[in-house]
């Protein structure tokens, strides 16, 4: 387990401010944040690439804060690969084993195995500059994994790759994670990568951790407006909450009144997921607390799903399948009814 306590460090325009984090054994942990949030710096501090200003880093219960980086047992993969340009693919991967004075024959066997696993065995004698981005990143992964690090730290490992290569590598990294029983910490600004790979996600902003949780928790219950915006949550409204009886909270946005089951008082943000909203062209009987009539103001065709914006005094986004969209004969300006349950309204 990796435990980070009150970690702080100033570095040029970046600043980490009392970061606390726990990463479990064999977890695929993603640190997600916009550029400038300090996530790379955090990763480099865990690796020992820079020294901390204050705070502690524990690995498996041992304080590693001042352990030199070659003694931490971490693997590091950079976005731009950082392969040794004067060494072949084979020599790059063999590097860590050679540093450990592993027997020559064993190095050969293990490097060959690793190259096969990552489908780069045909590139063994090529120099890095002759490889594609995907091939370079596979080499970098192989080079880091071959020393069996207790944790593999990856800084935007997929960001320089095209979409197809990225999807291939996402699949491969899942396999590697299972095969090697290894803790992986992956830094990215791309929420899709986090969704595809992460057991848990930490959201970072301005050198602080805003929220830690699995993807469902973060997606459904963003801790604050920043997280909600960043992970692409639709339908965020501001309002004032007050209690209404035992179980209900009323949120007044100034234009509409929305019911929630989450107990809150005072100024709040609230969100309701587009897939939790039901749309109909006629008023129907329903148990849903929140019922609004509105006009369709925007229709965006996303392929399988159609994204509609309905003006219910507040603009609310609703997803429809293509099939229902066609059946309901919707178009801009048409009056529709939207329904959603009080339990679907998340406040923060």
């Amino acid at each position: 387990m990796i435990k980070i306590e009150n970690l702080s460090r100033d570095w040029k325009e970046f600043q980490l401010d009392h970061v606390n984090l726990e990463i479990n054994d064999n977890e695929y942990f993603v640190i997600l944040g916009p550029s400038g949030s300090g996530k790379t710096l955090l990763l480099e501090l865990i690796a020992g690439i820079w020294e901390v200003d204050s705070g502690d880093i524990y690995m498996d219960g041992k304080n590693m804060t001042w352990t030199p980086l070659e003694k931490r047992g971490v693997g590091f993969v950079y976005q731009n690969y950082m392969l040794f340009p004067h060494k072949t693919v084979f020599e790059n991967i063999a590097f860590g084993l050679n540093m450990r004075k592993v027997d020559k024959e064993e190095v050969k066997t293990r490097v060959n195995e690793m190259m096969k696993l990552l489908h780069i065995d045909h590139l063994a004698h090529r120099l890095p500059r002759t490889l594609s981005g995907g091939e370079q990143q596979r080499t970098a992964l192989a080079r880091a994994l071959i020393i069996n690090p207790r944790v593999l730290l990856m800084d935007e490992p997929l960001s320089a790759l095209d979409k197809k290569t990225r999807d291939d590598l996402i699949r491969q990294m899942k396999e590697l994670h299972q095969k090697f029983d290894i803790t992986m910490v992956h830094v990215t600004h791309n929420f899709d990568e986090a969704l595809a790979l992460a057991d848990r996600i930490a959201i970072m902003k301005d050198g602080r951790i805003s929220q830690v949780g699995n993807s469902t928790e973060i997606f459904r219950h963003p801790a604050d407006k920043f997280v909600a915006d960043f992970v692409g949550v639709e339908n965020i409204f501001e309002g004032v909450a007050k209690k209404d009886g035992e179980r209900l909270t009323i949120i007044d946005t100034g234009k509409v009144i929305i019911y929630s089951t989450e107990p809150k008082e005072g100024p709040v943000h609230m969100t309701v997921r587009p897939e939790d909203i039901i749309l109909s062209s006629k008023k129907v009987e329903t148990s849903a607390r929140n019922v609004f009539k509105g006009k369709i103001t925007e229709i965006i065709d996303n392929g399988a799903l159609i994204k509609l914006t309905v003006d219910i005094e507040e603009p609310i986004v609703v997803f429809l399948t293509r099939q229902s969209f066609i059946e309901m004969e919707l178009n801009i300006g048409k009056d529709v009814w939207t329904y959603f349950k009080a339990t679907a309204v998340h406040t923060f």
Binding site: E70, R72, F84, R129
Partner: protein, 263 residues
């Protein structure tokens, strides 16, 4: 053919002045020398020993410059510290002061009573009119070539690559020797050859600190003073040939040495 505009033509005419100003005298020297006399000079032990002394004292100066200059260059490339600008300036000072002044500066500290000369004479090293004096004068004048060129090479190696090597188990000194140095070797070699060539050419500081034993530039000067222009030409031709060959090697290295990260 591409049509040249007036500005390009005008700048080319102005710019070619310096080119010919340097080239014509050198070519003139080479062609005005009598091959027979040059051949005689090659067989003259005085000339040859002066030439060899210049070459090998310069080599010794270059090796010393490498030994101390490379660590300094790496330090300057990787660290920001208080007074860094001052350190950089000090290293470059010998380039901007007259070489005779360098000689006087060195003579003051390396004479047998000087702050360096006195303790070093205890272990049998004398500098006035001795080979160590020649080496010291050469080192003073030309070591900055090694420092500046090596530093540029180190700066071109991404420090994160060194960090990755260290996560793989390589200690920091080892990383320097197996990752950083091989990747910046071209700059180190180019800097060394420039240092060597500059050291061979050194005259001003040597003439003050160690007039004897005679190096090639001093021999040329003495022939000129004692016997006139015609006697100094053959040695000048030989010396300039050595320097030009070294310089040619540098140019070939710069253009031909494949860097790994660029095609």
């Amino acid at each position: 053919m591409r049509k040249l505009d007036h500005t390009t033509i005008f700048f080319a005419i102005m710019g070619s002045f310096l080119f010919f100003f340097v080239l014509i005298p050198i070519v003139n020297l080479m062609v005005s020398a009598n091959p027979g006399i040059i051949l005689n000079n090659i067989q003259d032990p005085g000339v040859m020993s002066a030439l060899f002394l210049s070459i090998y004292a310069a080599l010794a100066a270059t090796i010393i410059a490498l030994l101390f200059g490379v660590p300094l260059a790496y330090l300057l490339a990787r660290n920001d510290f208080w007074g860094k600008g001052f350190v950089e300036s000090v290293i470059d000072v010998p380039l901007v002061i007259p070489h005779t002044v360098s000689g006087i500066i060195l003579l003051l500290v390396f004479n047998p009573g000087g702050i360096f000369g006195q303790p070093l004479s205890q272990i049998g090293l004398t500098f006035s009119d001795a080979i160590p004096g020649i080496i010291v004068a050469m080192l003073f004048a030309s070591s900055s070539f090694v420092v500046n060129s090596s530093r540029e090479g180190f700066e071109n190696v991404d420090p994160r690559m060194e960090k990755v090597a260290r996560t793989l188990g390589s200690g920091s000194l080892k990383t320097f020797f197996i990752i950083t140095l091989p990747l910046s070797l071209r700059n180190v070699v180019v800097g060394s050859i420039m240092c060597w060539a500059r050291a061979i050419s050194e005259f001003g500081a040597i003439v003050i600190l160690a007039y004897y034993p005679t190096t090639a530039p001093v021999l040329i000067y003495r022939r000129f003073v004692d016997f006139g222009l015609q006697e100094s030409i053959p040695v000048a031709v030989l010396l300039i040939s050595v320097c030009l060959v070294l310089f040619l090697i540098v140019r070939l290295l710069i253009s031909g040495w494949k860097t790994y990260d660029k095609d």
